[in-house]
């Protein structure tokens, strides 16, 4: 399968400035070297605990944030990506390298190029209560992206807005209303409509159902699945809820402290996690079945600060398999064939 979205060694660091002279004393290593591919029409889940860098990664891929280094591609063919890798190794200061990157590598985009990109890639935020402008009618909220990108005018724009309302299961009659006149689930539908109005290829969802009740969550997940099928969409779905990821995603990436520690298809990750952190996440997740009590495996301690990640494998202070090697060397994310890759020196058999 062809990859629609790809990142290579992507880093987004937030500088920590201190004192009178705003001295640069360190960095929050929110996204610290992430190489990730999302196949066309895939629904990829990104899971991990709060603060591990999920939102930062999502926003960096969409270029709502500027990466510190690394590459981001949307719908770029393999030869070009390889060419860029090769030039980076052999002549990183050459004009050829700069030129090819400015054409294909989203990490370098700015200005009108960036604006153009926005219509192909969209974000749906977690909180349907704050992500919509309370003073704007739904109609205007949905028309805005169309006019910003100069996609359509007049009647055509109006028709498009009506069309997306119906796509998300709302009615055109509701267009003159304001956000407060809708329930949480309906507002999330409006946010989804706004993301889809420009006809994007790729959508990042940042915990879109975590503020919703389980029954409303099910409605939204069913809707997302339908939209994905009907419009050939590709999703990156950020969630801390593993049961949701396991149920709806085609593949899952597990993040810990700015890094991806394991990737694979949901049943592999859940039935046979290879990374000790994935296993801890899986075993910590309660399941709604009183007969299936899991053998508890309580992970000791708490997540360290990404401003000061542990040396070697970042998980080593909490890992029961850690050896001396883990304290000094960083395990690379190695492919094990198929969708599966693992970053651990002593993966679980």
């Amino acid at each position: 399968m062809e990859n629609l979205v790809e990142t290579r060694d992507l880093k987004t660091l937030f500088p920590i400035l201190r004192g009178l002279f705003r001295q640069h004393v360190g960095d929050v290593r929110a996204v610290d070297g992430i190489t990730l591919s999302i196949e066309r029409r895939q629904w990829m889940g990104l899971v991990g605990e709060s603060g591990c860098g999920k939102t930062t990664l999502g926003k960096t891929i969409l270029r709502l944030l500027k990466p510190t280094s690394g590459h981001i591609y949307l719908d770029v063919n393999l030869e070009i990506k390889e060419k860029i890798d090769e030039l980076e190794k052999t002549q990183p200061n050459s004009k050829a390298y700069k030129e090819i990157r400015s054409k294909y590598d989203l990490a370098t985009f700015a200005g009108s190029k960036l604006k153009n990109l926005r219509k192909s890639m969209q974000l749906v935020y977690q909180d349907p209560f704050t992500s919509l402008d309370p003073r704007m009618k739904i109609k205007d909220t949905l028309l805005e992206p169309i006019s910003v990108h100069g996609l359509m005018k007049g009647q055509a724009a109006k028709e498009r807005v009506g069309e997306v309302m119906e796509m998300v299961g709302l009615s055109q009659k509701q267009l003159p209303r304001y956000p407060h006149q809708f329930s949480g689930g309906q507002r999330q539908r409006i946010a989804i409509a706004r993301a889809l109005v420009t006809n994007p290829q790729f959508v990042v969802f940042d915990e879109p159902t975590s503020a919703l009740d389980v029954s409303v969550q099910a409605q939204i997940l069913i809707l997302l699945d339908k939209l994905k099928q009907e419009h050939n969409l590709t999703y990156l779905y950020i969630t801390h809820d593993l049961s949701v990821a396991e149920t709806v995603c085609d593949s899952i990436a597990v993040m810990y402290l700015g890094k991806i520690v394991e990737m694979g298809n949901p049943s592999d990750i859940f039935k046979k996690p290879r990374h000790p952190y994935s296993r801890a996440l899986v075993l910590s997740t309660p399941i709604a079945d009183p007969t299936r009590k899991r053998g508890r495996h309580v992970l000791p301690g708490e997540v360290p600060s990404p401003a000061n990640p542990p040396p070697g494998c970042r998980f080593h202070p909490r890992c029961d398999r850690a050896t001396d090697e883990c304290k000094t060397d960083e395990p690379p994310l190695l492919s094990e064939g198929g969708l599966r890759s693992v970053a651990c020196f002593h993966p679980i058999e």
């Binding site: 029954s215 099910a218 069913i222 593993l242 049961s243 859940f270 309660p286 709604a288 007969t291 309580v298």
Partner: protein, 196 residues
């Protein structure tokens, strides 16, 4: 010192340091442990825990749930655990009461509620829980405005099985099977419940 032994009880590793700290210096999981310690300080017989792990990450939630389970057996306190998370309830509760718009619609042993749910709302909730390999199903419609409650059974506008009486009378919570209570006209037989 009592305070420090209570903190030990809730598995805080370094009680003397934590006792000197301010709440904002503690992580979410630590704060929740301290709050549980406070609740236990006066030989609690009933502990009411209102969504105590909702804002916590799963690995920290797992630590707190283990602690709650341990305390329940060691200190022999009863716990009323309020949660919207069906998985958490399945994990730690002995009995579960399901609420919809201000009243209990089903109450039974945990396994009964999850495997043999009788109330249409409970059944729909169970079907909405994401489970791999299972087709998700959603309850149609939305939770009504609590200021403008439906007549009769409050679930009737969203219920597939609603009958005429469901619009008219609020069903009483009745013991259908031993220890299994349901408030639904489908099971009420000739007990009509109170009119509304």
């Amino acid at each position: 010192m009592i305070a420090s032994s209570l903190l030990k009880e809730v598995e805080i590793a370094d009680p003397s340091r934590v006792l000197k700290q301010h709440p904002h210096q503690l992580s979410g999981g630590m704060k929740q442990r301290v709050v549980i310690a406070m609740a236990l300080a006066c030989c609690t017989r009933l502990l009411i825990a209102d969504e105590p792990t909702t804002s916590l990450d799963v690995t920290i939630q797992a630590q707190i749930l283990e602690l709650v389970k341990k305390l329940k057996t060691e200190i022999q306190t009863s716990i009323l655990y309020i949660t919207h998370d069906l998985a958490v309830a399945a994990e730690i509760c002995d009995r579960v009461g399901v609420m919809y718009l201000g009243s209990i619609c089903e109450l039974a042993e945990v396994a009964e509620v999850y495997q043999n749910s009788l109330h249409p709302y409970t059944k729909a909730l169970m079907a909405a829980v994401p489970k791999p390999g299972k087709e998700l199903s959603a309850i149609s419609g939305f939770v009504p405005d609590p200021l403008d409650l439906p007549s009769g059974c409050r679930f009737h506008p969203r219920c597939d099985a609603a009958k005429k009486i469901c619009q008219e009378r609020q069903p009483a919570l009745i013991e259908i099977n031993p220890n299994h209570f349901v408030a639904c006209h489908l099971y009420n037989g000739d007990k009509l419940g109170k009119s509304s």
